[in-house]
Every structure is written in C-alpha cells, then in structure tokens.
C-alpha cells in the first residue's frame, strides 16, 4: 500500500508571530520556517506503517513556494521515499489544496492519505476533511491511534469528551492529533541521502486547479494584549485575592 503525506511549510512553532504594521498579514521575512508540527506526526506515522510492513511506499507532497522543497527534503530525510512539489507563490486556501491533492490521489492511488489535522499558521483544520469529501472517501480526523487491518483502518480519535474509535474502509483519509506518535529526528546520513531522493515539480495548473482565493483578507490585526498584573508576596495574599473574586 502506498501512503501519501501532504506537508506544509509554516512559521516555526517556537517563533512568536508579528503582525505587519500595514495590517496585511504576518511578517514572515527572515523568520525561521519549519514543517507544520502535525505534518511531522503524519510523516512519522507513515514511516511506522512502512516499518511494520503495512506500507510499501511513502510519497510526500507540498503545495507552496519553491522553498517548500526544504520541507519536503525534511520528510525525505525522515524516511519518505519520494516527493512532489506543487509550486505556487500564492496563498492557497484549504479547498484549493484539497483539489490539488485530489488530482495527485488520482495519479498515485494511495491506500491512505495522512495529513496534519491543522496548520499552525492559518489554524483552519479543513484540508483532510475536504479531501475526503472530494474523493467520496471516509475520514478519521484527530487520530491518536491508527491500525490498518486488511481492507480497513481503525482510527482512535481525540474528541471533546475523550476518545472514540471508528472503522473506515480503505482508501481513507486520516488527520493526526498530538498524541499519535513522537516524530523522529532525521539523522545526518539520512539528510545526505534525502538530497538524492526523487522530487517531482508540478504546478496547480497540472491538476487543473484554480487557486484564486475565495476568502478575501480585509485586514490582520494584533489581538488585544493583556497587561501583566501584580505578583503577590505569599499564599495568604493569594488566598485573599481569590476570596475577593468571590469564587471561594
């Protein structure tokens, strides 16, 4: 079985984003960029399924600027076999990404597509579900455990009240939550090897997808900031404050 893993290049999760002064977006110039953390979990899960003998090939794909090639090289260094870069300098919304992925699924016919549940830049949490809809296939979102058996996959999902388990017929779409696994670091030899793994270059037009945004961003602003309050000297002072709030 082939597994397709879409990955996104985003601001590094340790960097505090700054809104541009002209209100057009977030300043990404000279900011450290990395693979979206949920996508790292997706890559790791695919590798583990390959190590278990469930998967035979892992194809990583990214839709984004030319520099997203670095993100794909990271996926290859972790253990993906080959990569597809769909290059565009436009900001591509989840619906258009899902349409491009649908085109790739048509060509590659993977048994599973594993995606991060959400990208930490736009925080949309949409692409996996949209891809499943466009393909008419089942979705196991917010996965904390993935077990492939025969022609189905069982997914334990993180939900509001705890966990729930669903069984999906393959091919299926899975989106990852935090507890699915802990992604490995790529070793230096594997980083070197990744440089010679195949990476195909495509464009949205190759899949006949119009990436024109449907949502117009009118402005981007900083949220209201909280001011630091007071530090109290001891437990008694804190207890007094809590009593003042009328909750005890």
């Amino acid at each position: 079985m082939k597994i397709l893993v879409p990955v996104k290049r985003v601001i590094d999760y340790n960097v505090k984003p700054r809104v541009k002064s002209d209100g057009t977006g977030v300043d990404l110039a000279n900011v450290k960029m990395s693979m979206n953390p949920f996508d790292e979990i997706a890559v790791e899960e695919a590798i583990r399924l390959k190590e278990k003998g469930v998967a035979t090939e892992i194809v990583a794909v990214s839709v984004g600027p030319a520099k997203a090639q670095e993100t794909l090289r990271t996926a290859l260094a972790m253990g993906a076999d080959r990569a597809i870069l769909v290059t565009t300098d436009d900001e591509v919304e989840p619906l258009a990404v899902a349409k491009i992925l649908k085109g790739i699924v048509g060509e590659e016919a993977p048994g599973l597509v594993i995606l991060g549940k959400q990208a930490i830049d736009d925080d949309s949490n949409q692409t996996g579900q949209m891809l499943a809809a466009l393909l008419g296939r089942p979705q196991g979102t917010f996965a904390s455990e993935v077990t492939v058996e025969g022609d189905s996959v069982t997914v334990k999902r993180e939900v509001d009240g705890g966990l729930e388990t669903v069984k999906l017929s393959l091919p299926a779409i899975v989106t990852t939550d935090l507890r699915l696994n802990e992604p490995r670091y790529a070793s230096l030899p594997n980083i070197m090897k990744a440089k010679s793994k195949p990476l195909a270059n495509k464009t949205p037009a190759d899949y006949g997808v119009d990436t024109a945004p449907r949502l117009k961003t009118l402005k981007v602003t900083e949220p209201a900031t909280r001011q630091a309050g007071v530090k109290v000297a001891d437990v008694d002072a804190l207890v007094a404050k809590i009593k003042e709030l009328g909750i005890a």
């Binding site: 977006g25 925080d123 296939r137 509001d160 935090l178 900083e222 530090k231």
Partner: protein, 310 residues
C-alpha cells in the same frame, strides 16, 4: 434574508451548550434554523425548539446519525443547504470534523472558528494561535462557518417557539462505522463552560501528584480541571483536559495556572479568561506576563496550603 442552518451539538439526550453560542452567531447572520441529526433524538429536537429565536428544527432521526459520522451526516446537510444560505457549526470536535466535509461538497471555502460577525459575509477569526486576528470576507454564494464558543454569548435555552420537522437523508454511507467511545465521566463542570478552571502543567511530575495537588483545589472551588499539552503528553491526565491552540479554548471567570510556563500554544487557549492567576516557581515564566495575579512559589507546598486556607 439569510437562512442559516445550525448544527445542534448533542448526545441524543440533551443539547450541549456549544450550540447556544453558535445560535447567537447565526442570529447575527439571519434566520436561525437548526439541525438535530441523531438517533432517538426527538427529545433533543423538542429542547432545541425552545432555544430563544429559533425557527424550524429539522430532525433527522436515523441509526446512521447516532454518532455524527461525517460520512453519513455531510450528505444530509448538503441536501438541506439547498434551502439555506449558511451552515453554522460550533467549533466542537463534531463541528470541526463535519463542516469542512460539507464545505467541500458545496464547493465553498469554510471560515473556521469565527470570533465575530462583521457583515453579511465578513468575519473575524484567529490565526497563528490567536496572535493575529484576520478579518475575512467570503465570496462564495453559500457560507460554511464554525463558531468559537467563547467569543459569543449563549442564546437563552428557554423562551423560543420553534417547530420540529422530520427530515430524512441518505442514511448510512457504508464508508465508516462507529466502534465505541471512552468518554470520561466526571462530577466536575465541563471545561469549556466552567466558571473556574484549575490547570496543571508539566511541573506536576506525574499522574498521582497531579491528582493530589490539583484536584483538591479544583473541588474546593467547584472548578473544572485543565492541563497544558506537556502534562497531557506526559500522561498525567487524558487528552480531553488539554487547553490550548489545538486543544480546548476556554474563557472562564477565573483561570488558575499551576506549574504552567505559558507557551504561546497554551496562552492561545486561555488568554481570554477574565482573571488569570499563575503559580510558578520560575519568576520569569511567560505565564506571568498575562497573569493578573501571580505567586512565585513552589507549587507542592503553596497549592495544598491555598486549598487548606480557602
């Protein structure tokens, strides 16, 4: 006038509070109609019809809808959207699972997790873990939005006079099946609707210590218990305790952060709390930059002492 269809969050027995915030958001767009998709959910539909300002309540009662499987309910919603202009769902795990599937089937760009309604098709929403608030305008003919519960007041659950109308959809898609759930039962309030929350971080050491230190304080205050991602990852508490960018978004009257350093991903989930109290032994912990009241102390001695003195 815009006709909205609001996803009613329920457990086939009662309407969940998250629905009420979504109703408020929908009422700012236009007429409010509801969808109760479930199994044996007639009582839920009756209760939903009493929510203030509600018009028609569509009840789709079918075993296939019992567990809100997206593969089964999305086609039902798509068929109802022929006579509605906007699908509005709370940002619950069901809402987040189902709405994008609906949006893609309708060929619509979804607006996730809205904070406010600024116009007929204009909304604000958080991006970058709430560090940038975007104002976006949809150009699609129909709208699909999910609603951040803490950003909208809850509609009154009584006083409405909606009418219940049975609808049916295509039922079981045959693509997926529900095997079971492990839902924790707790006497404590639900995290997303609690007035007071006591949250613990990695500093709590282990599951047993977390229970011994955090639970007594929470119980004394009638509070819900939350946790940072680090505490959940370390297995101190289950995943449904997690507060943060990708966990639960909360805005209680009082949020007490114990042994939580205050990573931006955690702050994203609680910084709209009315009063934040932080207890941490590191006086430079970022949590103190957002806390109204801070105590620099060793939590293992301070918290039991506070619990004893309340």
């Amino acid at each position: 006038m815009t006709k909205t269809l609001v996803w009613v969050e329920h457990d086939n027995a009662s309407v969940k509070d998250a629905t009420l915030s979504a109703v408020t958001a929908a009422s700012q767009l236009g007429e409010v109609h509801l969808l109760v998709a479930g199994s044996g959910a007639a009582a839920v539909a009756e209760a939903a019809a009493k929510i203030a300002g509600v018009g028609k309540v569509h009840l789709a009662d079918d075993a296939a809808y019992a567990n809100a499987l997206a593969e089964n309910v999305a086609p039902l919603i798509v068929s109802l959207m022929e006579s509605h202009d906007a699908f509005v769902a709370p940002s619950t795990s069901n809402g987040k699972n189902i709405a994008p599937r609906v949006a893609a089937l309708l060929d619509v760009a979804q607006v996730s997790d809205i904070l406010s309604v600024e116009g007929p098709k204009t909304f604000t929403r958080p991006t970058y873990a709430g560090n940038a608030i975007a104002t976006v305008e949809s150009s699609d003919a129909k709208l699909v939005v999910t609603v951040r519960g803490t950003a909208f007041a809850k509609a009154a659950s009584e006083g409405g006079s909606g009418t219940v109308e049975a609808v049916s959809g295509s039922g079981d898609s045959g693509l997926s099946s529900f095997l079971g759930a492990e839902i924790a039962k707790s006497e404590r309030p639900e995290l997303t609707s609690a007035k007071v929350i006591v949250s613990g971080g990695r500093a709590l050491k282990d599951s047993e210590t977390f229970k011994q230190v955090i639970f007594p304080l929470a119980d004394k205050l009638g509070a819900a218990v939350g946790a940072s991602r680090a505490a959940v990852d370390a297995g101190y508490v289950p995943n449904d305790y997690q507060v943060g960018q990708t966990g639960k978004i909360v805005a209680p009257e009082v949020y007490i952060a114990v042994g939580i350093s205050g990573a931006i991903q955690h702050l994203a989930g609680m910084k709209d709390s009315k009063t934040i109290i932080a207890i941490n032994k590191d006086e430079d912990a970022p949590i103190f930059q957002v806390a109204d009241v801070g105590l620099v102390a060793d939590l293992f001695t301070a918290v039991p002492e506070i619990t004893g003195k309340l």
